[in-house]
């Protein structure tokens, strides 16, 4: 089997400050990988480099494209990378406001992604959007309401619907459950797990919540000061951490 995404020695600096350095891994189709680490450890920088939002200073991000097979997305032309961003990739932001258009109705938010890949039939777009609202457990009667009238949890689910409607193969998530209260978190986790399994998605999830990665991720990378200090099977890294920092991270979790 060929990896869907191959990251090779990716580094990104902000002047003298290190964002992330020398990160390499392969992600296979259907795999969910978690990236954990404290604030400032370079998780989000790495995620943005992979998703094409930031240009890494060095390294390759090779994505297995549908048309031409593996291609380095760092050196590919901007229009081609943007096309990937609309079709095969999805990006779920921590704050729904960053991923939604707040002045457009819920249905419009979902439909916009469809139109970006060529859908033109209004009835089909609206039907598809309504269907997705229901899949993420938003009442179809709210299709014409703006996201500003939604709760935080609903906005996050709307953002997920907007991202998944085009059937992406790889989803990047930056703290998808951050800022939500725990009951809403549980619902969102359950939803994400079902979608990942049913659609055969691959996903990379950045979070600082170890409980979230245990439930969602097959594999885990632990980052500190821009470097990957430990990587492996999620329950192995959490149950038998090897690096001093991973041990500290795991032992610092409060028991409920």
């Amino acid at each position: 089997m060929r990896p869907l995404l191959s990251v090779r020695t990716v580094s990104k600096r902000y002047g003298a400050h290190v964002g992330c350095t020398d990160v390499s891994f392969d992600l296979y189709p259907g795999e969910v990988m978690g990236i954990v680490g404290e604030s400032g450890s370079g998780k989000s920088t790495l995620l943005n480099c992979m998703a094409g939002h930031l240009a890494p200073d060095a390294g390759e991000v090779v994505f297995d494209t549908r048309a031409d097979g593996p291609k380095d997305t760092v050196t590919m032309l901007e229009p081609e990378r943007r096309m990937l961003g609309r079709t095969d990739w999805a990006f779920v932001h921590q704050h729904p406001r960053d991923g939604l258009r707040m002045g457009v109705s819920a249905g419009g938010n979902v439909g916009e992604r469809l139109m970006a890949v060529g859908a033109r039939h209004y009835g089909d777009i609206r039907g598809n959007a309504t269907d997705w609202l229901e899949r993420v457990e938003i009442d179809a009667a709210r299709v014409d309401d703006r996201p500003t009238t939604f709760s935080g949890g609903m906005q996050q689910r709307l953002q997920i619907a907007r991202n998944l409607v085009t059937g992406p193969r790889l989803v990047f998530m930056d703290e998808p459950t951050g800022g939500l209260d725990v009951s809403v978190q549980a619902r969102l986790l359950d939803l994400l797990r079902g979608l990942v399994r049913d659609m055969g998605l691959s996903a990379i999830i950045v979070t600082h919540d170890l409980a979230v990665v245990r439930l969602l991720a097959d594999r885990l990378m632990v980052m500190k000061s821009g470097r990957v200090v430990e990587a492996g099977l999620t329950d192995q890294v959490l149950d038998d951490p090897q690096h001093p920092y991973s041990q500290l991270l795991v032992s610092s979790v409060l028991q409920v």
Partner: protein, 227 residues
């Protein structure tokens, strides 16, 4: 089916003065198809540690652990995940689930994961829950609020939903009453009869005598505590 050669394990506690604890060394034994081997030894001897190494959630310091065609000490995460999905089942002492997911789906999930149709998986899950005396009214509720014994039985139902060729059982009969214990033991006997290779930890001596063909005393592999 399962074979261990010269396996050792130590823990290094970096945040507690770098203390190194040697837990196991030189572990070698194997389990054939249709055979059940019990791990014995005092509490702290390393029975659960050894079992977790076979499951892959503890790393192996040296030696080889083979389950079917896969050597775990050097396997890639995705190979271990595939092994757990298709070959190796594990009954842990604790049930870990996504909150809000109904019991029936928790039990059916291992079948769904190998591509069994939803209706077929659900029928099998209902069968097991009925067999393990989980009241039907609870099936649509999440098991997170169940009693200890009920959670244990949900855990067992889930682990026996798919016919794994190899199984690890960590105290499957703990916290069960006599009637349910009997049902679980007969499930294990059925699994043996269909050819599953089983490693088990049973504090319940009568259960161990009845189910297990051999015993491996783990304490003879422990080098003792070192500073």
């Amino acid at each position: 089916m399962i074979s261990l050669t010269g396996v050792s394990k130590s823990f290094t506690l970096h945040n507690q003065g770098g203390a190194v604890i040697d837990v196991l060394s030189g572990v070698s034994f194997s389990v054939a198809e249709g055979e059940c081997v019990a791990l014995t030894g005092a509490s702290g001897a390393g029975k659960s540690t050894l079992m977790r190494m076979v499951y892959g959630n503890y790393l192996t310091a040296s030696g080889e652990i083979w389950v079917g065609d896969l050597e775990l000490a050097r396997a890639e995460p995705r190979e271990v995940i595939q092994l757990r999905r298709e070959t190796l089942g594990y009954v842990s002492q604790f049930l870990r689930v996504v909150p809000r997911v109904p019991t029936i789906d928790v039990v059916a999930e291992p079948l769904r994961a190998v591509g069994v149709a939803p209706e077929v998986a659900e029928t099998r899950a209902q069968e097991l829950l009925r067999q393990l005396n989980i009241p039907e009214g609870l099936w649509t509720l999440s098991p997170t609020t169940f009693s200890g014994g009920e959670q244990q039985r949900v855990n067992i139902a889930r682990s026996f939903a798919f016919d794994y060729p190899a199984m690890l059982l960590d105290e499957p009969t703990a916290s069960l009453d006599a009637a349910n214990r009997e049902i679980v033991l007969s499930l294990i006997e059925q699994a043996k009869a269909r050819g599953a290779a089983i490693i088990g930890i049973f504090h319940d001596e009568a259960a161990r005598k009845r189910i297990c063909d051999r015993e491996v005393d783990v304490s003879r592999f422990s080098p003792g505590m070192a500073a």
